[in-house]
């Protein structure tokens, strides 16, 4: 093997080097804030590598992973999320006195696993990538050692994650038993509707369903999201989803597309359950983090609609939506981080009261994120939902689109309720702010993209379509 052969996974190599560098620098650096900037430089370099790779003809790494437009799109999404995740955590780690070096290194390692999920074209790569980022996240979920609920979240996440990994691995084994292949291309060739194969596919759906938090595999989500440190929750809620859906789409729409009659009904059913349960459960939450956890379940449901459509527009819409969702959800969590009181690890709705009076800019940012999550034009979330539901209609799944629209109308209640608290209620106690410039920068970036993608959605949609053409040929 020559150095040339490693080029297709260059961004991952860069991230790995950065993670190691962060750990090493940590040992002899006084001001730990620099670790964030080191990590950020690594992310930017990885981004440059991604861009450079996107200009090259598609290539693959030992039949294990592919570097093409599709991979590039998700690398972009995950790198942006990782960069913002580093920024959002910086002030938080400082304030809580936690280990900056380990945190940043774990976040970067998780990012490697996630981008590899998108690149994977081999079942073993897929599984190793899945485990890589999952293990990092188990640790990160328990990172706030002072708070018992953080540890509880980590343990729950670990137990349920291990269980679902086992099911996922069992699914891989059954598919291998049915087809004798582990590469995606090989599986596609040998796929048949034998019971063995179907059982394997079913278990794979369960494994992915767990990672994207689809109902009924969502139960860990509210507990873990609420318990984990908020920057970790923010990162988990968008990056895990993007990575899991990246592999989900490549494996199902791309590889198993021919057999889609076997899995589309299952996914459609999951989509309905996820949208309905997620939105209804979010209605009665008082904790902002728990509310956002259920909301993220509901959003997984919307994305599943695009996956169930299984056509070009549907899957392009999935990509587009994951990008949009990353910015609006991260932004909402950034506001939560800003409002969080030391040691509580959570923000209640009543703590938002009268925020517009005391912190008008923060309130305005939150308003933009809430509107976008609801799907109000001209923000990015509107176009995301529009493309997803449009794809469902084109795939003759109009009923699915209708349920999606109705359940997203329900969601307006709990998103706008936040705004009611912010703008119309009088503050009980003046909200205390952990508001620091770096966190502000991350919020600003999120606002710019939520508005910018909303105003000029076409560029990003074309990018997503470019990624899709690789998958669907």
């Amino acid at each position: 093997m020559t150095l040339q052969d490693f080029m297709p996974i260059l961004p991952e190599m860069v991230l790995l080097a950065t993670a190691v560098a962060v750990l090493m620098v940590d040992t002899f650096l006084g001001d730990k804030r620099w670790l964030t900037w080191v990590g950020l430089v690594g992310v930017l370099l990885a981004g440059a590598a991604t861009y450079w790779l996107a200009l090259q003809p598609p290539a693959d790494f030992q039949d294990m992973a592919a570097s093409d437009a599709y991979t590039a799109f998700f690398r972009l999404v995950i790198l942006v999320v990782t960069g913002l995740g580093l920024l959002m955590a910086m002030n938080w780690l400082e304030a809580h006195g936690e280990q900056q070096g380990e945190y940043n290194a774990l976040l970067l390692l998780a990012a490697i696993g996630m981008t590899l999920m998108a690149a994977a074209t081999h079942m073993l790569t897929l599984f190793v990538a899945l485990e890589l980022f999952s293990l990092c996240l188990y640790i990160l979920a328990g990172f706030e050692r002072e708070r018992a609920s953080s540890g509880e979240a980590a343990l729950k996440y670990l137990l349920l994650g291990a269980f679902s990994s086992a099911l996922f691995l069992y699914g891989i084994a059954l598919v291998y038993a049915a087809t004798g292949a582990l590469t995606f291309a090989g599986i596609a060739q040998k796929a048949s509707l034998s019971p063995l194969f179907l059982a394997g596919v079913g278990l794979l759906i369960v494994g992915f369903g767990f990672k994207v938090a689809a109902v009924p595999f969502h139960m860990w989500t509210p507990d873990v999201y609420q318990g984990a440190p908020t920057p970790v929750t923010a990162y988990m809620s968008v990056a895990t989803k993007a990575a899991a859906f990246a592999a989900f789409v490549r494996l199902f729409v791309g590889t198993l597309g021919v057999e889609k009659s076997a899995w589309v009904p299952a996914l459609a059913a999951l989509a309905v359950l996820t949208m309905v349960v997620g939105n209804l459960a979010a209605l009665s939450q008082h904790s902002l983090k728990r509310m956002l956890a259920y909301s993220s379940i509901a959003h997984a449901g919307y994305v599943l609609v695009g996956l169930a459509a299984a056509n070009t527009t549907g899957t392009a819409a999935v990509l587009f939506y994951l990008l949009v969702y990353a910015f609006m959800n991260l932004g909402a969590f950034a506001v939560v981080i800003a409002l969080e009181r030391q040691g509580e690890g959570d923000v209640t709705l009543s703590q938002m009261r009268g925020l517009a009076r005391t912190h008008p800019l923060l309130a305005a940012a939150m308003a933009i994120f809430m509107f976008s999550l609801t799907g109000v034009p001209p923000f990015a979330g509107f176009f995301g939902k529009l493309y997803l539901f449009q794809a469902a209609v084109q795939a003759n799944l109009t009923w699915l689109a209708v349920i999606g629209v109705i359940s997203s109308a329900v969601s307006a209640y709990y998103y706008l309720n936040v705004l009611v608290q912010i703008y119309m209620a009088d503050p009980e106690t003046p909200p205390t702010l952990a508001w620091r410039p770096v966190l502000g920068l991350a919020t600003l970036v999120a606002v710019v993209f939520v508005v910018g993608i909303g105003l000029f959605p076409d560029f990003w949609l074309q990018l997503a379509l470019g990624g899709m053409r690789v998958i669907l040929g």
């Binding site: 343990l155 729950k156 137990l159 349920l160 269980f163 679902s164 099911l167 019971p195 179907l198 059982a199 596919v201 079913g202 278990l203 759906i205 369960v206 767990f210 009924p216 595999f217 139960m219 860990w220 509210p222 507990d223 076997a262 299952a266 176009f383 529009l386 493309y387 449009q390 000029f456 959605p457 076409d458 560029f459 949609l461 074309q462």
Partner: protein, 712 residues
């Protein structure tokens, strides 16, 4: 080159954002940002405009264009962008230049205002709206900017609609008036905009595009002219006519034409630079520009079968005369100009209605220059009156005995003799006034007005011609009246006695505008005009003629006819002369000499034909009545009694039932409910227990169900 197009509206917008977010504490930087951004936009605009002036044919062949895909909707991608063709070039010459001059003028005019930065932020936002509107290459984007202008207009008319305790220069009555005026302007134009939006949606539904060149391409126009729809009472009407009339209603609202003209005079409550820029030169003429843009829609249906052109001509000519007469009987210096603006916009619409495309655009341009000049001059006078008033008070000069009116810096009855006190303002104001009156040969207003009259004469629209000719007489009369009342005679108040010339930031824009108000018209001296015509050869007509030809209009250089020119000259000089006879020859008091002579007619003019009262009694009263009915329906008649009734019934029933059932059933039911909610709660808790083993169990159950369903 084409890439910089978006900079022209984007720069003022950036200035707006910067002022709002960062620099609103610093007056100097805020004003500097707005003026700097506008200056760059102005230079860019002129660079592009002059390229078009030098190579009209090339630009018409390939207009400057910047197109971006906006969003994918349904099965099409909606494109948006900016373009510059010859018509845009003409506007691009005028708009940023006037914006710049008026912003500089505002430096002096708003100097003492505590909300100086906010004012410049609004101005920058308005510049964004107007520049974006003229550059937009499709109706949707144009509508967005159109509404942006509407918002700015609202904000600026109501600029003094609230005040801080330290702002002593605004009295409570003025606050009330500003509040009412801004609302009135916004709501009145909303009527027109709503009708126009229907037109825009219909146009998109019928042609599948809103780009000027696609929606109004020859093929789609042909289809729109041939297909028709049934409208009650009117019968079959071609779609083109329906769309044209709907869109024209937007222009009626924005350009304050009858019957939606009522908001513009009240809009004078805004600061004077705003009146000059928004309510004289740019925003109100946006309606004319919109019709120029969509003109093929009006023109495509054969004459006779087409109600749209006739409708436009009627509204325009009627408004021209109607508003001019009201201008005769006003005492507020700005209100006279406001009615004059309405009237002159009517001229432009009348020109469009008789197919005089080029003449309308020409008058739009000329009017922008001389009316901006007149408003700024009026602002200078008001500024001087306010200062004179303060000065007179400080030095204890007592009120003169004949001064029975309360002090109002806008009241022309309190002015007089200002020529000697402020010569630069006076000279430039007279130049603008003569241009408005159409003083023959030298002024811009003469050439553009003459062009419209000549066209009406030549095309045989005699009703339009005579209406406009009489309006020209009235125009010259009220202009002369204003000049004599303000600048000549003896000062009629202490304020006028102590008035002084305004600062250079204010007078310099006046001088520059005065040059344009006179000389700009020379570019449009028709080729056939004896003597002078041979020099200029109707440059403007030939330039914009290229655009008109490209739109499929028939344009020809008119032969010279002495009759309309002589009538136009006679009207202008006659009006000015008559005003001298009434107001200039001898000193006047508080009562207008005409009031005695004309009596009831004068009152009708003074009270604006009671249109405001009519709307108050009909439209507003109806809205009030409707809201009352809705309220009563809710509160007294139906909903509340219903609810109360249900409640009373419930209480009655409850009282009955309690006796029988309370002991036997309720207790058990309460216990039962508690038991049930416990059960449900228990069930829910079992799902979301926080216990990992239960979660695992649920997952396992789900997997089983999935596999069983999948396999069988």
């Amino acid at each position: 080159m084409n890439g910089v197009l978006f900079l022209i509206p984007a720069l003022p917008f950036l200035a707006f954002v910067f002022i709002v977010l960062f620099t609103h504490q610093n007056r100097r930087v805020s004003a500097g940002l707005t003026i700097g951004a506008t200056a760059i936009a102005w230079l860019l605009g002129w660079y592009i405009a002059f390229q078009a002036f030098l190579n009209p044919d090339e630009v018409m062949e390939a207009p400057f264009r910047l197109t971006l895909p906006w969003f994918a909707g349904g099965y099409t991608v909606f494109y948006t962008g900016f373009q510059v063709d010859l018509l845009t070039a003409v506007m691009l010459f005028m708009v940023p230049f006037l914006c710049f001059l008026i912003f500089v003028y505002s430096l002096g005019y708003m100097e003492k205002d505590p909300r100086f930065s906010r004012f410049f932020a609004y101005l920058a936002l308005f510049a964004t709206g107007m520049l974006g509107f003229i550059l937009a290459d499709n109706l949707l984007l144009a509508f967005v900017f159109w509404e942006l202008m509407g918002v700015c207009s609202y904000l600026l008319i109501g600029f003094w609609a609230f005040r801080r305790p330290e702002e002593t220069h605004i009295d409570t009555a003025q606050v009330q008036r500003a509040r009412a005026a801004s609302l009135k302007a916004f709501l009145t134009t909303r009527v027109g905009d709503t009708i126009m939006l229907v037109g825009i949606l219909l146009l998109y539904a019928l042609t599948g595009s809103l780009r000027w060149d696609e929606a109004l391409s020859p093929t789609s126009l042909k289809a729109l002219a041939e297909q028709s729809t049934y409208i009650p009472f009117l019968g079959e009407v071609p779609w083109a006519t329906v769309l044209a009339v709907l869109i024209f209603w937007g222009a009626i609202g924005k350009s304050a034409q009858f019957p939606l003209h009522v908001w513009l005079p009240d809009a004078m409550e805004g600061p004077t630079p705003v009146s000059a820029l928004i309510h004289a030169a740019t925003m109100v003429s946006a309606g004319v520009y919109l019709i120029l843009r969509t003109f093929p829609l009006f023109y495509v249906v054969e004459e006779g079968a087409n109600g749209a052109m006739g409708f436009v001509a009627f509204i325009g000519a009627f408004t021209a005369l109607f508003a001019a007469t009201m201008g005769v009987a006003q005492f507020d210096i700005k209100r006279v100009l406001a009615y004059s603006t309405i009237s002159q916009l009517g001229y432009m619409f009348a020109a469009l209605g008789i197919g005089a495309y080029v003449a309308a655009a020409f008058h739009l341009l000329m009017h922008a220059f001389f009316k901006a000049l007149l408003f700024l001059g009026a602002g200078s006078v008001i500024h001087a009156m306010e200062h004179g008033h303060e000065h007179a008070h400080e030095h204890g000069h007592g009120h003169r005995t004949e001064e029975s009116l309360p002090f109002n810096p806008n009241d022309m009855r309190l002015m007089g003799g200002l020529f000697r006190r402020m010569p630069r303002t006076a000279w430039t104001f007279v130049a603008g006034g003569l241009s408005l009156a159409g003083f023959p040969l030298i002024t811009a207003g003469f050439w553009s007005k003459d062009e419209i009259l000549a066209e009406a004469w030549y095309t045989g629209h005699s009703v339009v011609f005579w209406t406009l000719a009489i309006a020209a007489f009235v125009t010259a009369f009220y202009t002369g009246r204003q000049i004599f009342l303000v600048f000549f005679g003896e000062p009629r108040s202490a304020a006028a006695q102590h008035a002084t010339e305004s600062p250079t930031t204010m007078t310099l824009p006046l001088v520059i505008l005065a040059f344009f108000a006179v000389a700009a018209g020379w570019v449009g001296i028709p080729e056939a005009f004896p003597g002078l015509g041979a020099v200029v050869r109707g440059w403007f007509q030939r330039f914009l003629g290229v655009q008109a030809e490209a739109l499929g209009l028939h344009v020809e250089a008119l032969p010279f006819e002495p009759a309309p020119v002589l009538i136009s000259v006679a009207m202008a000089l006659g009006g000015l002369g008559a005003s001298w006879l009434v107001y200039g020859r001898r000193p006047i008091g508080v009562t207008d000499p005409l009031q005695g002579a004309l009596g009831g007619l004068w009152m009708a003019w003074h009270r604006k034909y009671w249109v405001d009262e009519l709307y108050q009694a009909t439209v507003v009263a109806f809205a009030r009545w409707l809201s009352q009915v809705a309220y009563r329906f809710d509160d007294a008649w139906v909903i509340d009694p219903l609810v109360d009734g249900v409640g009373r019934f419930g209480r009655w029933l409850g009282a009955r039932v309690r006796r029988f059932i309370d002991e036997q059933i309720i207790d058990r039911a309460v216990n039962g409910t508690a038991w049930l909610s416990n059960l449900v709660g228990e069930w829910f808790r079992q799902i979301q227990t926080g216990q990992v083993q239960n979660y695992l169990l649920a997952v396992l159950a789900a997997v089983t169900v999935l596999l069983v369903l999948g396999l069988f």
